[in-house]
């Protein structure tokens, strides 16, 4: 055979292998079993008890049926008269007839390599059956077994609405830029089929179909994209959310107020999209970076903490008040927000008050002109102006509660206690 034909054969073989052999999806939710312990863990490290150890028999991996299915959020019902076990998981269902040892999933017969049996009143069954019910995949190696599947998501969103997502969403629409960033950061970007107009990060998001603005998206467009779930930030009007729901679309509303809320949001988004592990990894990475910054902050004595004035708009001069996100960032970075006692979340600042407060550092969160700021009347007496510590920063990083928030924290810390600039 010619080299060409050989290469073709190899490629063919490889593709068959990849198609047929179930691959463990590294980004999905899993249960990990070991035949040595009567327990298993999930992606988050949470431990679940088992009434009996898993049994390895004739190459098949068997586990207690009810404990595993219910731990995943499924429902198990046993009918004593007929010795039938009925199972429901989200939109999927299955049945096992204990007497005959026959089983079916979604109406199709399931072939048991080893028939299910009962020990001390508990049904022990092949893990492949459970995997089929969960529409997941199994990876067995010696005494270990990993069951990858989409875990049904049930929770309340920030509006108090109960959300129940029964199967892994494959078509996601994001109506807020921070949610788009989160989706891409946890690897769910390929599932995103529509974004709001202002979703401009990461670059890949720019090529996604646009569905409209923040408060006036095109309902028709969203509906036509046939999404499984729409992620929405708190500012989208209730009427839009309700309209989408009335069309049968799942809507998840988020509203993070501080960094810890952002971590929860990332984990939740991961749970909903099925990219659970990625979410967990991202959060732990962000947490460790945050920890480093906090350590550096703690080394700075209280007396040496710097005062910072953050201006989010210049006409009128608006800063950030006590309950805002940015204020909490400033505090974490070890800064003192000169506007923290001003009334309201976005106080309009008084020139004299700023001069009196004498900030050490000024940060403009808009495309401003540093020289114009310097030449404001009376501002030449301000410390930050004298020492040339006026910085223009990207408002997106500071104002979007998303994966780049730690970057904002870092920038803040560097500006306050690190580099020079301006």
């Amino acid at each position: 055979m010619s080299v060409f034909k050989k290469t073709l054969l190899v490629l063919l073989a490889l593709s068959i292998i990849f198609a047929v052999v179930p691959r463990a999806n590294a980004s999905s939710y899993f249960f990990k079993f070991t035949s040595e312990k009567a327990e298993f863990v999930d992606t988050f490290g949470k431990m679940y008890a088992l009434p009996h150890r898993p049994i390895v028999k004739d190459g098949d991996y068997l586990v207690p049926l009810r404990a595993v299915v219910e731990a995943a959020g499924g429902k198990v019902a046993y009918i004593p008269k007929t010795h039938l076990v009925k199972l429901i998981y989200g939109e999927r269902y299955a049945e096992v007839a204990l007497l005959s040892g026959k089983g079916s999933v979604m109406g199709r017969d399931f072939y048991f390599a080893t028939k299910p049996f009962v020990i001390k009143g508990r049904t022990i069954i092949s893990i492949g059956f459970i995997a089929k019910l969960f529409s997941g995949s199994v990876f067995i190696r010696n005494s270990q077994c990993v069951l990858n599947f989409y875990r049904i998501f049930s929770a309340k969103d920030v509006l108090g609405n109960k959300i129940l997502i029964k199967k892994e969403p494959n078509r996601i629409v994001s109506l807020a830029p921070n949610l788009t960033e989160i989706l891409f950061a946890i690897g769910a970007g390929s599932k995103v089929v529509g974004v709001s107009n202002y979703s401009d990060f990461p670059k890949a998001a720019l090529s996604k179909p646009k569905v409209g603005g923040f408060f006036n998206p095109s309902i028709e467009k969203i509906f036509a994209l046939n999404p499984d779930v729409v992620f929405v930030a708190r500012g989208t009007p209730l009427t839009t959310i309700n309209k989408l729901k009335s069309l049968g679309i799942d809507v998840f509303v988020s509203d993070p107020h501080n960094i810890s809320d952002i971590y929860d949001l990332i984990l939740t988004v991961g749970k909903i999209t099925g990219n659970v592990e990625e979410g967990v990894k991202l959060v732990s990475k962000m947490k460790s970076e945050e920890k480093k910054i906090l350590e550096s902050v703690s080394k700075i004595p209280i007396g040496k903490r710097k005062k910072v004035y953050v201006e989010i708009w210049n006409n009128p001069k608006m800063s950030v008040g006590k309950n805002t996100f940015i204020d909490s960032l400033i505090k974490e970075a070890g800064g003192i927000n000169i506007a923290e006692n001003a009334k309201g979340n976005w106080p309009v600042m008084n020139n004299e008050a700023i001069i009196k407060a004498n900030p050490d550092v000024i940060i403009l969160l808009y495309k401003g002109n540093i020289n114009k700021v310097k030449s404001r009347p009376g501002w030449n007496t301000i410390s930050a102006v004298k020492n040339n510590k006026i910085f223009i920063e990207n408002p997106d990083i500071f104002e979007r509660p998303g994966p780049r928030i730690i970057e904002a924290l870092k920038i803040l810390f560097d500006i306050l206690y690190g580099h020079t600039g301006g």
Partner: protein, 336 residues
Amino acid sequence: MDKKFKFYLLVISFSLVLVAVVSLLFGQIKIPFNEFLSALLKRGGRIHSIIFDIRLPRFLLSSAVGAMLALSGLVMQTIFRNPLVDPYFLGVSSAAQLGVSIAIVFGAGITFFGISLASLLAFVFSLVLTVLLAKISTRINAERSRAAIVLLGIAIAYLLSAFNNFLSMFKREVFLESTFWSLRGFSNADISQFLFAFPFLIIGFLYIIFHSKEMNIYLSSDITAHSLGINLRWFISTMLVFAALLTSVSVVVSGSIIFIGLFVPHIGRILVGDERKKLAVISTLVGATIMPLFDFIARSALPSQEIPVNVIASLIGAPFFIYLFFRMRDNGLFKY
């Protein structure tokens, strides 16, 4: 009924049907005609859903609102004998926004039986205003009550502005959200809103039609109307109550949509003249046709965005109105 009226009645009715078909058939998503027909007949399927869950409610609601605003504007222009007044002259929109601002402070997401707190308070506040109007116009004599009502409308508008500014010190959302609320148009139209608004439209329309004679007489002068047995205070107050009610319902379901109430009655007058009964019928129909047309443009002009319907109404309405003004001036027919 004269020939002119019959002719325009037919033409406008036909246009209404045409606009209805266009509204259902066209939009941001292309629907081929054969699929459109089959979707009309069978249930289920995405096309069916787009037509019946998204476009149909939009058409029905915008049609109803257009009719209500046109009627309300007509009543206003009659009562004040002034061709330049519109439904919002009474301050209804401001009152509703006041309610919305308060709702936002408490948390706009709260719902009672599926109705948002914002819509509820908006309606309540505009009803309070309506009752206030009724009381004023029954207590004082006709001339003074008209002046008092004008002042009331202005006062409410300033009050709202001040209140909004005050509240937004504490919650930035107040200003943003209340503005969004009044600009929202028909983008989230639901059939329940139409079912809420429709009875008001019918009742208002019938009442106005049945009192068109009184309106004709009232137009000539106060004392003529009085001498013919029309109780001016009662007449003015009930008419204004209906105008306020129609406007309130429109504002609650779709925010403040400008211009329609102002210029549809003028269009009606150009077509069929000043007689109130004919004018009311034609204005209602024109309003019912124009509003969905504007909404259609608003939702289809840009590829993935919705232009607020007010923008379309202003872009088309303003130049038209200027043209109207010059035309009327030349004819020396600057009437109400």
